[in-house]
Amino acid sequence: MKEYFADLFAAVTSIAKGMGITLAHLFTKNETQQYLSEENPGARWQSVIVPEGLLQDRSRMRLHVKIEDCIGCKQCEKVCPVDCIDITTEKREKTDAPIFAADGTAVKQKVVQFDIDMSLCCYCSLCVYPCPTECIVMTPEYEFAETVKSEFLYRFAKETPAPPEPPKKETSDPVAAGGS
């Protein structure tokens, strides 16, 4: 009998306690943020714990290649664990005018094909580290949903090999587009 009433009492008090907590939360500030609203136009998550502007510093959401700097060393292709990078190079003629990457490395290979299949990418960022000219980078741009899978083939090389029309994917600079 004692147990019966103790049970009842425990039930009532614990339920009252829980209801107190939920009632208090009814009047506290909301933690979620509206995606694309007047208050949050940039579609960026405003973290409450990370100082403003620092959250995306190292974010790796989408690969981008500054193709002018690529020297065609294929290090990224080798290290990729899911084989999503595809590079073809041609030897540059000695007679061609010398080109240099941003850091001064001479470009000896002509990169005729630099494809990244973003639908395979596992965002591990392993390709970024070995790059000698830092031309392959991860950008914090994360909104790149497509309805057709072939749109995920990002073709960075300026000159593509002969075969038919390449898909009309604009490899626009994601940093400029979404870096805000």
Partner: protein, 186 residues
């Protein structure tokens, strides 16, 4: 009182002479190789002997050594990592099996956890555990062909009409102008 691998070896030798076929004590994780026929007795002894009390089989793996250069050394090893919660010591046991038709007695009556681990080894390596209560494939479909963690396993062509082999380079197809949809039905 914790024991190291050498002490454990001594005790097993004293009880079952000649059942340890070899031992490697100078490596990172010292291990003892136990005779396949005696593994159940040795296991029971290891679990029940108060001084040893290896009551937990915390990892059960199999390794396939194809050894193409020295075919006579080809083998499948079953590796048992045993821990004693009582004495806080641990030991690695190995059992060597032939690659053709590997068979070993089940350990599920000693450590019940071996049940699923042995199903896994059966599934991926094709090791037959004699006396196992429920030896079915655990990960792969019941009608899968072959045991994929064998080093000489070959990709089947298809499974119920589903292409199994890695797709031809996707970028090649996309480059040829093919519209590849998202999802399996596009």
């Amino acid at each position: 009182m914790s024991l190291d691998a050498a002490a454990v070896q001594q005790r097993i030798e004293a009880k079952f002479p000649g059942k340890i076929t070899s031992a490697e004590l100078e490596v990172t994780d010292p291990f003892l190789v136990i005779d396949n026929a005696a593994i159940v007795e040795v296991g029971t002894f290891l679990r029940d002997e108060p001084e040893l009390a290896f009551d937990m089989l915390h990892c059960h793996s199999a390794v396939d050594y194809l050894e193409l250069k020295e075919p006579e050394k080809a083998r499948i090893e079953v590796v048992l990592h045993l821990t004693s919660l009582k004495h806080r010591h641990w030991i690695v046991l190995k059992v060597m099996l032939p690659r053709d038709n590997p068979k070993t007695p089940t350990l599920e009556n000693i450590w019940p956890t071996a049940n699923w681990h042995e199903r896994e080894a059966y599934d991926l390596f094709g090791i037959e555990f004699e006396g196992h209560s429920d030896l079915r494939r655990i990960f792969l479909p019941e009608d899968w062909a072959g045991h994929p963690l064998r080093k000489d396993w070959e990709w089947p062509d298809e499974w119920h009409g589903i292409a199994v082999k890695p797709d031809e380079k996707f970028s090649q197809r996309a480059m040829e102008g093919e519209n590849i949809g998202v999802g399996p039905f596009d």
